[in-house]
Amino acid sequence: MLLTRVLQIALTLAILSFCAFALIALMPGDPIEVAIAGDPRLTAEDAARLRALHGLDRPFPERYLAWATGLLQGEFGYSRLFAQPVAALLGPALLSTVALAGSALTIALALGIALGALSASRPRTAPAVDAIAVMGQAMPTFWLGILLIIAFAVTLGWLPAGGVAEAGAGLHYLVLPVATLAIAHLAAYARHSAASLEATLTEPWIRTARARGAPERIVLWRHAFPNAALPVLQIAALDAGALAGGALVTETVFARPGMGKLLYDAVMGNDTNLALVALLLVALVTMLATLAADLAQRALDPRLRER
């Protein structure tokens, strides 16, 4: 089962690389046209020369094959946009994204599940939890980010308004962007864990457990929670995949370099090498996260194991 899934992932990546290459090649305007728009002194002669130099005058299948062969030999190529080898750019961007998205997701999951459990086990708190969830979810990320900046950076002056530390870990630079992302994601976790916990708590076997005299805390966390955690896990896996592609808006508002910004710039700037490698990397993380969630689901749900 694991082996087939891994093979499927490899196959998907191969097909995806072709589709993504085609998509980017189909986008209007090749890199040289983009350059001409920004530099009126480039002549027709210059354009032809640069096109030949970048290999853009060759037919599409040939370009794809050349690129794919290079990739299989471990050559990620060179980013035209950042004038750096692609591998050298991806490392720091990925690290920055993992720091941002990883901590935001962890915080959102922990808080979201706690809120969901609170709402499910103590119905009186449900409206308050709902209100928190609605507030968090209803704010567009860029707006929330700017509000936090106004409050904590501009007015109170406690935290930096954005950017990254020039040296050191720069933890205080992380607080506001992590809070922004966590607030945005927390609502879904709270909502889904509350929904499925409430549903699970009415199941007959829970009633049986209660009838046997199990304390409510044990019923909630030992019996109901593993069962109710499944949908939350699925969502978290999706989020993890999506965030591997970076939190573009958060990174833009807080001027943090990361995968989202890199990918956006690469696609918009028609930097095929960088865009493709980054896309494939993101796709790989996404699929691995899904696989992990499926495995966890198997481990948590005994009925699935039997099947």
């Binding site: 087939t4 209803a138 707006w143 889904h192 549903a199 949908p231 995949g241 808006v249 696609v267």
Partner: protein
Amino acid sequence: MTRLRLGLAILLLLALAAAAAPFVAGALGHDPFAPDLLVRFEPPSAAHPLGTDDLGRDILTRLLYGARVSLAVGLAAALAATVIGTAAGVFAAWRGGAADALVMRLADFMLALPALPLLVLLAAADPSRIGLPARGEATGDVLRIVVILALFGWIGVARLARAAALTTLSRDHVRAARALGATEARVLCRHVLPALLPPVAVATALAVAGAILAESTLSFLGLGISPPAPSWGNMLANAQELVFSAPWAAVWPGLAIMVTVAGCTLVADGLRGRRRGG
């Protein structure tokens, strides 16, 4: 039950407000599309109950016209995603085996497919060439955004639906029903679909909200609804540039989005409560 009623009431009110946009504009005597540079950034007054925006247009009437666009985007995208997602998820769980693997791998593939180049491609495509409304007109933009959101939105619903359907299908009472000779259609309609409703209802409600939010993010990136048609998303994205000097221009569309999301969630909660008979 009261939650359901409250949520429905909010959504109904919003729909009514959207429908009433031309009348309100008429009553106030403002053209929400005509800039007037002499009255930029007016604070709320009797003439302009919510003030004016950066081009001197009445915010209230723009908000009402924006409701039409934003609600249309939200509902259309969420419904499309839910229908496709539920069908795909149930199909995968029910058929199992190769069909299951195929659907789930397709989902993986779609998830991994880069949305950004697709968006740029669609933004460049000229829908009038295939007989659809020309770009720039709100309908064209709405269509483009709905297609994108549905294309990437069905996956989450499908996973949710598949997981829930799998659980239900392995339940004893479903096995018993099958053993007693119930048709597959009956099993799906009587047992699987009802069991799906709670998670899918929650997902749909969140999808409406998510689509409205996604539209605002696209506006932020310059890929959303183009002017002069107002949407809550592009009103909010426009307001952010001058957020320090004219914050209220961003408060109203933000509030509108929040109320809508609240309405959707209440409806979802209400539906969930009714299924449980609680």
